[in-house]
Structures are given as C-alpha cells and as structure tokens.
C-alpha cells in the first residue's frame, strides 16, 4: 500500500520542478494565504518607495532597471553546490543596499512572478511565501547588515556580508516556511526545520559567498563611475 502511495506521488509531483522556491501547490491554502497577507504591506510600501525614487530623481530610472536586471540574471543562474545539488543566488542584496529593502520587494516579486508563470518554478499559490523569503526577508537582512557594518567604515566587508547573509537567510526562511507547513509527525516542527535547512541552507552557503563577491564587484563598478549615488537608501 505504501509503495503504491509513493508511486502515485512520483507521478503527481511534477518531474521537473527545479526552482529553489517553494513549488506550486506545496503549501496548504491557509499557509499560502497567510504569507500573501504578510507580504502585501511590504509590497505596497515598496510601490510608494519606487514612486518616490522616480519622482525625486528620475535619473535613477536606469539604475533601478539595473538592480532589477541583476536580480533577474542571478536568479537565472543555477549553480552547482558542494552538496551535489544546484541552487541559485537571489541578487536582491545589491538593490536593497542602493535603494532600500522594500524597493526590492517589488522587483523581486516581478522576478518570482516571471519564474512562476513562464518556468513553472515557484508558483502562484506559493508566491506570497516566496516573496516573503526572497523579496522581504532577504533585502531587509541585507539592508540592515549593511547599515550596521558601515559603522565600521569597511565597505567591502559590509557589502559582502550584507549580500551573503541576505541570500542565506532567504533560504533559512524558506526552510522555516516549509517546516511550519510540514511538521514532523513524531518529532515536531523543529525537526522538519533542521531537515529542510540541511537541504536549502547548506546548499546555499557556497552560492551565498559567490553572491557576496559578485555584489561587491558590481557595486564598486557602479560607484567608480557614479560617485553621487547615496547608498543605504539615504538621499
């Protein structure tokens, strides 16, 4: 009987869902709704933040497109990790440092929507949860780590750790979301959390290091030609 169940599962589960986000239909409706509701305020605030940026400094339109493109490219790159599986960076740390966290909520949501609709990676029902982990927690962590570490005056270190931790905590959040929805029947939620962490977070560590390096390189290149940019959302 159990064998039959597994067999059915194998056919029910889409054979290629290689996104590193929570797959379509893999959160119970109540959970999916909860994460949507939690994400909406950040998204709305982000829309206003973007409007403010474009109104006060229309020249930054191009830079805004740039940080969106950076997230677009990085989240398309599936990179092999030491664990023998693949995952991808998020690329939202860069934009969070330049424009503030909620701007990246909107841009990240666009990236996630694109992947859900055209690539069947992630999903419409799990969009709220994926936006929360990749486009809210990630950018918030990056932003505050950057702000905090800039007090030491070491920009390279601040940018690296901001991007690294933002990337990593995205996947810690994903693990937490899955653990909440799928607590282990005998050992409870934290047991599940550890299991999902073992997959997502461990795979992600080397990729988060790469994301940290790329963010430092790209941000330094932008600053080299564009000294007037105020980082950390300070204008």
């Amino acid at each position: 009987m159990r064998f039959l169940m597994v067999l059915i599962l194998v056919f029910v589960i889409p054979s290629f869902g290689f996104s590193m986000h929570i797959m379509e239909g893999f959160l119970p409706p109540a959970h999916a709704t909860f994460w949507y509701i939690l994400s909406i305020p950040f998204f709305t605030y982000g829309l206003f933040a973007i409007r403010k940026i474009l109104k006060e400094n229309p020249k930054q339109k191009m830079l805004l497109a740039f940080v969106a493109a950076f997230a677009f490219v990085l989240s398309a790159m599936k990179i092999p990790s030491v664990t023998g599986s693949c995952s991808h960076p998020t690329g939202v740390g860069l934009g969070a440092i330049i424009f503030g966290p909620t701007t990246m909520t909107v841009l990240g949501a666009i990236v996630l929507l694109f992947q859900a609709l055209l690539l069947a990676h992630g999903g419409i029902t799990t969009l709220g949860a994926n936006v929360f982990s990749m486009a809210i927690v990630g950018p918030l962590v990056s932003y505050f780590v950057y702000k905090l570490l800039m007090k030491t005056g070491k920009r390279t270190l601040a940018v690296f750790l901001a991007a690294f931790l933002g990337d990593l905590l995205t996947y810690v959040t994903t693990s937490f979301q899955l653990a909440l929805a799928f607590p282990d029947k005998s050992y409870g939620m934290w047991y599940s959390f550890a299991k999902f962490l073992g997959i997502f977070a461990v795979t992600q560590i080397p990729l988060a290091i790469i994301e940290g390096f790329l963010t430092v390189v790209v941000l330094d290149m932008i600053l080299k030609y564009n000294e007037e940019i105020a980082l950390g959302g300070e204008r």
């Binding site: 159990r2 169940m5 597994v6 599962l9 589960i13 290629f16 869902g17 290689f18 996104s19 590193m20 986000h21 797959m23 379509e24 239909g25 893999f26 409706p29 191009m62 830079l63 740039f66 493109a69 997230a71 677009f72 490219v73 398309a76 790159m77 599936k78 092999p80 990790s81 030491v82 664990t83 023998g84 599986s85 693949c86 995952s87 859900a116 055209l118 690539l119 069947a120 999903g123 419409i124 029902t125 799928f182 282990d184 029947k185 599940s192 299991k195 999902f196 997959i199 080397p206 290091i209 790469i210 390096f213 790329l214 430092v216 390189v217 330094d220 290149m221 932008i222 030609y225 564009n226």
Partner: protein, 99 residues
C-alpha cells in the same frame, strides 16, 4: 577593476569547480527536488492542491526561457555600464578638445 575584484571572481569560479569535483558523481538536481522528497517522507498523504498553469513542454524549452531571462538581464547590465563609461569618456574627451 582592482586586484581585489579579480581575486573575488576567481574565488567564485574556484567554489563552483570545487563543488563539481568533490561531488563528481552527484546529479546536481535542484535543491527543491530534494525538498519534495523530504515532504513526501514527512507527510505521505500530502499532494499538491494546485499545479502550475503552464509548464515548459521540455527541458530544452525550459533552458531556452532561462537563458532568455539571463540574456535580457545581461543586456540591461551591459547597456548601463556602457552608458556610464561613455559619459566618463565624453567628459574626458571634451577636456582634451579645449586644449
């Protein structure tokens, strides 16, 4: 580009190559596929209640869309750096013209 940046890019490459070497027998499938396995271990009764509206018909089409995503992004990134560089060049050149 500073030396620091070159080290960082080389280190990134080394991380990827190292991953491929120490786990050369591995499948390198997506991490979410592994998560699906864990979910089915934890809760055998769970079946997804919604399926994607559209799925790429094959792995080839999927990689086409992925490379398009990366290409469009890379185009914008290159365009932006091109503008920045061009602006600086114009600034430098106009200085020369006066002399």
């Amino acid at each position: 580009m500073e030396k620091k940046h070159i080290y960082m890019l080389v280190a990134s490459l080394v991380i990827v190559i190292f991953s491929l070497i120490i786990n050369s027998g591995a499948e390198f499938a997506g991490a979410d596929g592994m998560a699906e396995e864990v979910i089915s271990q934890i809760n055998q009764d769970y079946s997804p209640w919604f399926s994607p509206l559209w799925e790429p018909p094959s792995g080839e089409i999927e990689s086409l869309l992925f490379s398009l995503q990366a290409a469009i992004g890379a185009l914008i990134i290159g365009y932006y750096f091109g503008i920045l560089k061009g602006k600086r060049q114009v600034k430098n050149d106009s200085g020369k013209n006066i002399v």
